[in-house]
């Protein structure tokens, strides 16, 4: 009889207070992000394919590497550095470009596709709030994709370094040379900060806007995302002959303008983001505030908008 009264008391507490099998927010967020990766395999497949294609091209060009290095040795140290560094810089660039493209297409469809295929009725039938769903979706372009690009870039650069030094050693050249011109740890750090700060935080309002439109549009979300800002820019130009809107969007897309050293062409240093300058830029905080507003709007819309 003791056990039964204890069991009753236990079940009473269980149903009254927090349910025993309660699932933490982190776990629900984890599964919400995981399911995005299941649905949108391009999040990792596209960067993987881009890295693969680049590596294949790089391997085919390896035959000419000793000759290029010999020619470069005749150049000034800076140009020599650029020549050797270039492919390592390019692989990063290719992955960043891929990552941004995937992020844009992902965002445009993220809250539109689930309404079109009616699966939103299923997603809403589980105990996951609209806010958590939108947060999980926003984390893909802002956090997950930059990190995937970072990991793949680092792996690709490492493979390229190993293969390059082997080829150079095979032709009697100094194999350590590539490692000094492309210090992997420093390069990775520059790459990581650039991806997280610029591609994650600086671009966040762009992704927030795309998610908002994706939650709102009944048709062609991509056009709704792109045309109104473009139209405002055109009207501004025609009416006032100014281009503040265009400049503003250009600055946002171009990262933090003005801090890129000019004259050296494209290189790794260009990507280095001075942290204090970045964190104190008002543009960053205005952008993040705007992101919050857009995402809040997306949450509200997801609640209200039904299937299309």
């Amino acid at each position: 009889m003791n056990t039964s009264s204890q069991a009753m008391a236990g079940s009473h507490v269980g149903s009254d207070a927090v349910t025993p099998g309660d699932i933490s927010l982190v776990r629900r967020l984890y599964w919400s992000v995981t399911r995005e990766l299941w649905e949108n395999r391009s999040i990792y497949l596209a960067p993987l394919a881009a890295a693969g294609v680049f590596l294949v091209g790089f391997l085919f060009g390896l035959g000419g590497l000793p000759a290029r290095v010999r020619a470069a040795m005749a150049l000034a140290p800076l140009q020599q550095h650029h020549t050797i560094e270039q492919p390592f810089f390019f692989v990063g660039l290719v992955l960043m470009l891929t990552e941004v493209l995937v992020a844009v297409f992902y965002c445009v469809d993220a809250l539109y596709g689930e309404r079109r295929d009616r699966s939103i009725l299923f997603w809403k039938s589980v105990p996951v709030s609209d806010a958590l769903s939108v947060l999980a979706k926003a984390s893909i372009p802002i956090l997950v994709l930059p990190l995937i690009a970072f990991v793949l870039t680092t792996v690709a650069q490492f493979v390229m370094l190993v293969v390059s030094s082997a080829v150079l050693a095979g032709s009697g050249l100094d194999s350590a040379m590539v490692w000094t011109h492309v210090p992997l740890v420093q390069t990775s750090f520059i790459n990581l900060t650039h991806l997280v700060l610029v591609h994650g935080l600086w671009y966040a309002p762009l992704y927030g806007w795309l998610l908002l439109v994706s939650a709102w549009a009944k048709r062609v979300p991509f056009l709704w995302a792109v045309l109104p800002p473009a139209a405002i820019g055109v009207v501004e130009k025609l009416a006032f002959n100014t281009s503040y809107v265009g400049t503003m969007l250009g600055d946002r897309l171009g990262g933090l303008s003005g801090d890129a050293p000019s004259g050296d062409g494209m290189n790794m240093v260009m990507l280095a983001t001075p942290l204090t300058q970045f964190l104190t830029a008002p543009g960053l905080w205005i952008g993040l505030a705007l992101t919050a507003v857009f995402l809040y709007g997306a949450v509200r819309l997801r609640r209200v908008r039904g299937v299309i």
């Binding site: 349910t19 699932i23 599964w31 399911r35 939103i120 009725l121 105990p127 609209d130 039904g306």
Partner: protein, 291 residues
Amino acid sequence: MACIEARGLRKTYGSTVALDRVDLEVEDGRILGLIGPNGAGKTTALNAFVGLTSYEGQLHVLGRNPWSERDRLMRDVCFIADVAVLPRWIRVSQLLDYVAGVHPRFDRSKATAALAKTGIALNQRVRQLSKGMVTQLHLAIVMAIDARLLILDEPTLGLDLLSRKAFYDSLLTDYLERSRTVVVATHQVEEVQHILTDLMFIDRGRIVFNRRMDDVEALYREVLVHPDAIGTARSLNPIYERQAVGRSVLLFEGVDPQQLAALGDVRTPSVADLFVAIMSRRGAQPQGAVQ
């Protein structure tokens, strides 16, 4: 406390009134059939219960406001919509992983056991499954969730006879195992009528009929009237009259069975016949009651 409690529930889409100040109460442990013609407001009502649509008026489901507390409510409520809503790209195993990951009351082993009885393999994607299998899959998941309220909107739409039968059989088995409240909206009245405890007809956004099945059986009688008793029968104010195999079938409400037995063969009307009777009476109301 009632499981679902609505006061003046109203929903409009532009000038269309989908729900017209509905008052209703569903007690714990009932199986309620919500029957109505197309566009009557069934789906709107069910969507309001699970927080998928906004509304005017008061609505409490398991003591919660569905619109503002949908995610909390969904721990205790399961919902199958009238369209196939399982994402087509997902694998069965992923679906189980996901629900187990976000739902505190999901028993994965129970779902796996139910799926083992079907032809559904864990590595299949939803898009590879037939319509009937997708419904079976959804039902296997819903039944593995220890929810207090189950809301089903035309759950067997587009399924073949065998799948429909299997669906309602497992629904009933599950219901008998543990008591929970079920609200099911459907057109296929004859398939659900034997499992219902409560019956509700909805038409043009209003509840036009709301009774327990016990009361329905006690109150309504259908009489296959002898041709010579037809005059007497009609004088007893039948609520509906139809012709079947050359004889008149009259439906009575609250008339003494002894009295009816003299008129012909008395039986309990099917829900479908009752539905037709109630609906046609409503439809003819402006011109006066049907004889």
